[in-house]
Amino acid sequence: MGYVMDIKTDDYSIRHDSESATVFLRGFLRLDGMEKYQPVMDVLLTAVEQSAELTIDLRELEFLNSSGISMLSMFVVKVRDKGNVTLTLKGCDKVLWQTKSLKNLQRLMPSLTLVFA
């Protein structure tokens, strides 16, 4: 398995903490198209390969554009099809998009756990 670098820019950061099996997404994710989201997807896929129980912490992800939610949807479908992964999404009920969109992701994968703080 190749080592996937964490990603950090002025606008956002993606960090995989292997110890807690958690990927943290923070800031403003407004990448242009699915292709640009591939590195983010790679971090998530690598994390899910390493652990059967994965948490994605979105609490500090204030903005996510349409390509971003599309990427997240595809990731959830992949995890569901993989079949042996327990996935948890941590959201913040003060971030409007998280209160709406994360519920739709649960429709794609009913076993998905949503935790709002």
Binding site: N65, S66, I69, S73, V77, L96, K100, S101, N104, L108
Partner: protein, 363 residues
């Protein structure tokens, strides 16, 4: 040949048991004729058959018959005629036998052909059946594959529908989120960070808007400009933090002196404040200015360095014009500023609302 020998065994039996010698002779002749085609050897009925074929018993029987033949010529003629008939019948029978044999061969051939044909057809049917079975199996497999494919595609379609809906709703909610953010940022952009009332930028915007609005409505637009008296001395005496606190309290008090949504109190700069009052004549504006003066007096912010009062006071300039397209809002500001300057000049802690003669007023 086997059949011929079997025939001879029968002949022996007849010789032993028959008492009619004539009949026996005729029978033997007939037998010889019969044997001829079977043995494929030329055979004269009068000539005795080879010893190998006829046993001695037979010849003895014929020898014993001869006295009988001599006995009656008429009988013999009669017998000849019967014999000819029998020969003819035998010929006919032989032909019949040949025909039947031919027919038999034909039938056998036909049977063989039919059987062979049947086998062939059966083999073909078997082959076709096997092919069909294989085809059925193949189709079953194809059907199963297709079903699995349809199931997979159907699942994919459901997924995509949810994804599309998610993206769409996400787009909408992000729009809302951006819009809220924009409103918040606009609010921040139009507020003075220290006093949290409208800043100069917001003041300019609002004044310009109301100027155009009042021009259309042909309504008066009033402006109040005020300044905290001797604020520099206040700062020097109490420090900048106390100065900031003073500014905050004065701003808040002034802000509470106007009620209508179109009225706006703003920090004009430094220790200067302004109030834009649409649809307000000079008299109304002076009333607001007086209210402001009282509100600040009620605050009773100590200001020992002020020469006019122990507390913080305001110098106020009031102006009111009927906006017109050939005038600009800057002229209203200029006028109010002149009145403010006058108020300061004339001893501070007072309101000046003198009208410039060139402007129409509603007083």
């Amino acid at each position: 040949m086997v059949r011929a020998i079997e025939g001879l065994s029968t002949v022996k039996l007849w010789v032993v048991y028959s008492s009619n010698r004539l009949f026996l002779l005729q029978f033997l002749r007939a037998c010889f004729r019969k044997l001829q085609p079977l043995s494929h050897q030329p055979c004269d009925p009068e000539t005795p058959p080879p010893a190998s074929l006829i046993s001695t018993t037979v010849y003895r029987a014929e020898a014993e018959c001869s006295p009988v033949a001599e006995h009656s010529e008429a009988e013999i003629d009669h017998d000849d005629s019967r014999e000819e008939k029998l020969v003819a019948e035998l010929d006919a029978l032989r032909q019949e036998v040949q025909r039947l044999q031919q027919a038999n061969r034909d039938l056998y051939l036909s049977l063989a052909t039919t059987a062979e044909h049947g086998d062939l057809i059966e083999a073909q049917l078997q082959q076709t059946n096997e092919q069909l079975q294989a085809e059925v199996e193949e189709r079953k497999r194809a059907q199963a594959t297709l079903k699995a494919l349809i199931k997979a595609i159907s699942k994919r379609k459901d997924d995509l529908e949810i994804v599309v809906q998610t993206i769409m709703e996400h787009g909408d909610v992000m729009d809302t989120q951006w819009s809220l953010k924009l409103t918040e940022i606009n609010k921040i952009a139009s507020l003075d960070a220290l006093t949290e009332i409208a800043n100069r930028r917001r003041f300019d915007e609002h004044l310009e808007y109301q100027w155009k609005q009042m021009t259309r409505e042909r309504s008066p637009l009033a402006l109040i400009l005020c300044d905290i008296d001797r604020f520099k001395q206040f700062n020097d005496a109490y420090g900048h933090l106390a100065g900031d606190d003073c500014l905050q309290r004065v701003a808040s008090a002034l802000n509470h002196c106007v009620n209508r949504p179109s009225d706006l109190v703003a920090r004009f700069g430094g220790e200067e404040f302004a109030a834009v009052l649409p649809q307000t004549d000079l008299e109304g504006a002076i009333r607001v200015a007086e209210r402001m003066q009282r509100a600040i007096a009620r605050l009773q912010i100590d200001h020992p360095q002020s020469l006019v009062s122990p507390f913080v006071t305001l110098s106020i300039g009031v102006a009111c014009v009927m906006p017109a397209s050939d005038l600009s809002s800057e002229e209203l500001i200029h006028l109010a500023d002149q009145h403010l300057y006058l108020a300061k000049q004339q001893g501070r802690n007072q309101i000046i609302a003198a009208l410039a003669p060139s402007y129409p007023t509603v007083l």
